[in-house]
Every structure is written in structure tokens, then in C-alpha cells.
Amino acid sequence: MIFYVGAFILIAVGLYAIIIKKNLVKIIIGLDLISSGTNLLIVSIGYVKGGTAPIFSHPGILPQMMVDPVPQALTLTAIVIGASELALAAAFVAILYKHYGTLDIRKVRGLKW
């Protein structure tokens, strides 16, 4: 259960960072926290008590002993997608810094209403 709670708290902290923090980089960190939390959540859903990795590495391992392989596969996908998002976000922040000369989100408010 602690994994669940940890994952939720990670997500919540990420959202908190996005809402409260003024620094663009911290906002990106918030995004990353959300996706990490989600990944942690996915992996912990797949866990089966006493299970082993879902690999038939030697004949003694039977399917009944394994944990759920699907969440692991999902996590794999989700991590890469999160990483892509993050790369793009970092690129955006870099250009924003070029344009505005600051990383303060309060200054980046050209478009409204």
C-alpha cells in the first residue's frame, strides 16, 4: 500500500509544483513528478505478492509465480512518452528563456483573454 500512497503523493506534489512554483524549470520538474508517480502506480498495480519477474529464464519458473507483465509493459511505454514530453518541455523553456530572459512564469503572460 505504501507504494500506492507514495505514487499518489508524487502525483500530488507534481501538481502542487505546477500550480505554486513560479520557476519554469520547477514546473517541468512537476510534470516529471506526475509522470514518475504514474509510472510507480502502474508498476505497483502489477505486483503480485511473492511473485517473480515474468521471464522464463529457467524451467523452474512457472506462470503462476509471476507478477503481471502488462503493467510493466505499460510502464515502459509511459516512461518513454514521459521522457519525450519532458524533452519537448525543456526545449520550450530554453526558447522561452531566450525570448523573455527570465524563467519566471509570471513574466510569461503575453496571451490572455
Binding site: I34, I42, I81, L88, A89, I95, G110, L111
Partner: protein, 495 residues
Amino acid sequence: MVNLTNPILLIAVPLFFVFLAAVIAPFSKRATKYLPPVAFLINLIITLYLIPQVAEKGVIVATTAGIKPPFAINIAVDGLGLSLAIIASLLGLIASLYNLKYITEEPQDKFNMLFLLLGTGITWMVITGDMFNLFVAFEVTSISAFGLVGFLRDKDSIEAGFKYLVMGSIGASLLLIGVVMLYAATGTLNMADIAEKIARFSFRQKLLPYSFIFTGLGIEGALFPLNAWLPDAHPAAPSSVSSILSGIMTTAAIYAIIRATVTVFNYSAITPFILLIALLTLVFGETSAFFQKDIKRMLAYSTIGQTGFFFFAFSLGSVQGMQGAFMQILNHSLSKAMLFLIAGAMITQVHSRNIDDFSGIGKKMKISSVFFAIGAFSLMGLPPFFGFWSKLTIIFATLAYTNFYTITLVVILLFMSVIEGAYFFRVMQSMFFGKLKEGTEIKEASPGLVVPFVILGIVILTLAIYPTPIIAVSKKIAVQLIHRAVYINAVLGGL
């Protein structure tokens, strides 16, 4: 016999062209821009081939990896999905033809790849039959959209792109959390399978995953109050991209919400809530559009309003409501895409996005202005254009039972349509009858820009002349959507 009309080709073919573009790009950047039209054309042909099959079977299901549906990702195309795929391919084709002349900024190769990916992602979203795959398709769409919004790299587009990215990423994460919750609850990711297994859960248990999925998709689908990124992002992108974003991308997200609500969750109890959201979306979108000075921003806000309008029709939950929603989706996609393309063509001549600078250009850019008027009329729902019939259907659906509540709703709807008329007429007035600014050299945009939106305009006019078949088809689609068992049985029982 080789089955060439496998719906999975709708994904595979454009992806093939994307990667082909990546191979070609280092040698010839110019060549890449001819790939998106070809890919979208092939997609369009495939979708047209699929029409008789869907009409016959109702839902066509394609497996991956040779494993039958609940155990592998499947593609399930029903009437609604197929129609949206057709619209997506058509708009993609037209916008990419438009791109041939329109995009002059570098790096063009990357732009073309992303543009093709955007179209692919949208098609993918509307035909997939798997929740997690929906998330992936959603990400394909939104990440390519982030890049395209930032394409011009000026102050506005970077800011808009960043906002969009943060909002979109949060939305994607929420969607993912929702999907994962469904997996935890049911142990499967297939939509039809989830739909069967989730039936035993209580309203309360379903509410949380639903709200996560709804919020996640709602961010992309421009629902109030999650749509704040939209009026920044859509105008900031190049016009052809805006036309895709406004025309079909938000709609695709709405499609996903509809699919989740109707097919997966069977959540009729939630409709009053989403009705409220749709209404707020409509009201805020149209009201804000009224105050815009920037033509693309105005169109973007109008997209919000229209989204609210057809989402409202959907949330009525009746067959006629869905029918109206579908008709309005069709109408909005075609007209709004055309309006954005025209706005782009005009901006290339006027060099400004301010509506005041557009005054009098109707005399100089006759074709563009006339087609702008056609699109706006269709959007406003003036007869004989198709929008009239969809507006009528939605109003009829709302007032299927007359009481104080429905009449209030209709009054709000129609008041918003008055506001919409007000700002569109204002723009058109200044376009056609305003005074041309002195010393401006404006002429009709080049044929490369005009021809694509004229094609779209001809489609709209055809719909105006022959609305009956589409209305009949939309009714079938709505019936099919409401009878979710058809979909579930086709996916789980078939093959």
C-alpha cells in the same frame, strides 16, 4: 485473398510515410512536403473503401499480432469512428495541399513529418479499441501538436506552445491514471472488455476513473474550464495546423469522451453533469469570441463554443441528440477548417491578424471572402447550409420534452447562436463593405492556397444541396452508438 481494407492500414500507411520522410529528409527537404498529401490521400481512399463494410457489418474489428481482441490491441471501427476518420483524412489532405504553398519557414521536413503525425494520431484516436492505445494515440497527437504550435518560434507561439504542453501533459497523465485505475479494477485494457467487466461496479466506484479520463481528455477536447490553452495555441500555430487542431483534433478528443462515456462506462447518470460543462463551454467560448480583435483567436474561441454546442447535444443522451452532435461535428469540422485556411490565406496578404485590418478586402480577395462567408453561414446554421439542419436537430432533440428546464437550455443555446451570428456578421461586414486601407496592395492569394479551401467549400456546398443522405446516415450512426452491445459483441464475440 489479401485484405487491403484492413483499418489498421489507416495507421500503418501514414507512419510508413513519416519514417520514409525521415529517410528522405537529409537528401531532399523539398521532397518531404509531397509525402503528407499522398499519405492522406491513401488514407482517404482506404476509409472510403471501408464505408460499405461498416455499413454492412456495423463494426469492423482488426486484430494485431493475430490474437483475438481482449488479449491484444484491436482496432474497432464503427460508424462514428469511420466518419471521423474520413473527416480527418479529408482535412489532412486539404491542409497538406495547402501547406505546399503556405509553409515557407524552415525546417520544412520536420514540419511535414509532424503534420502527418498529427493527422495519423487523430485517425488513430478515433479507430482504436483499446484504452491504453487511446492514450498512446492521444500522445502522438498532442506531442506533434506541441511541436507544430511552436513551429513559428516567435514569442507568442512559444508561450502558447508551452502552456499547451503543460496542460496537455497534465491531461495525458490524468488520462493515464484513469486508464490504469480501470486496469486495476478490471485487469484488462480493451474497451469492450472493460465495458463488460465494469458493469458490476457501483456508480461511486466508476466515478473516479471516469472523472480522471474525462478531465484528461477534456483538456484536449476544449471543455470548460480546461480549455484555456486553446485560444492561445490554435492561433499561434500556422493556419493549416490551426485548421486541423480546431477542425478535428478537439473533436477527436470529444469522440474519445463519447466513446468512454457511452461504450465503456455506459454512464447515463453522469449526463446532467456533462451537460452543465458543455453549456458553460458554449457560453464562455462564444462570449469570449465576441470580444476578439484577432481573427484566428476569434475562430479559436468559436471552436470552444462549437465544441460546447455539440458536446451539449451529445449529453442529451438521446438518439436524436447524438445525431445532432454528429451532424454538428461534421459541419463544424469542415467549416472551421475552411475558415482557418481562409484566414491563413488572408493573413498572407494583409500581414496582420487584426480584424480591423481586414476591412474591405472582400473586393480584392473575392474567392476567399465568399468562401469565408459560406463557412461562417454554415457554422452559424443558416439555411440552406448543412449547419441549419444540425442546429435544427439539436434544438429538436433538446426540446423533445417541453418543460421549463429544456426551454431554458434552448434559450441559452439560441442566445449563443445570436452572439455567434453577431461576431461573424461583424467580420463579414467589415470584409465586404468596409473601407480598404489606403496604400495597401492586396490581391487574391495564390492558387495554391485558394484551391484547397475551395475544394472544402465545394464539399460544404454539396452538403447544403443534398443534406438528406447525411442526415439519414447520422441517424444510423447515433443508433449504433447508443446500442453499445453491438460494439461490444462485435469486438468480443467476433472472429
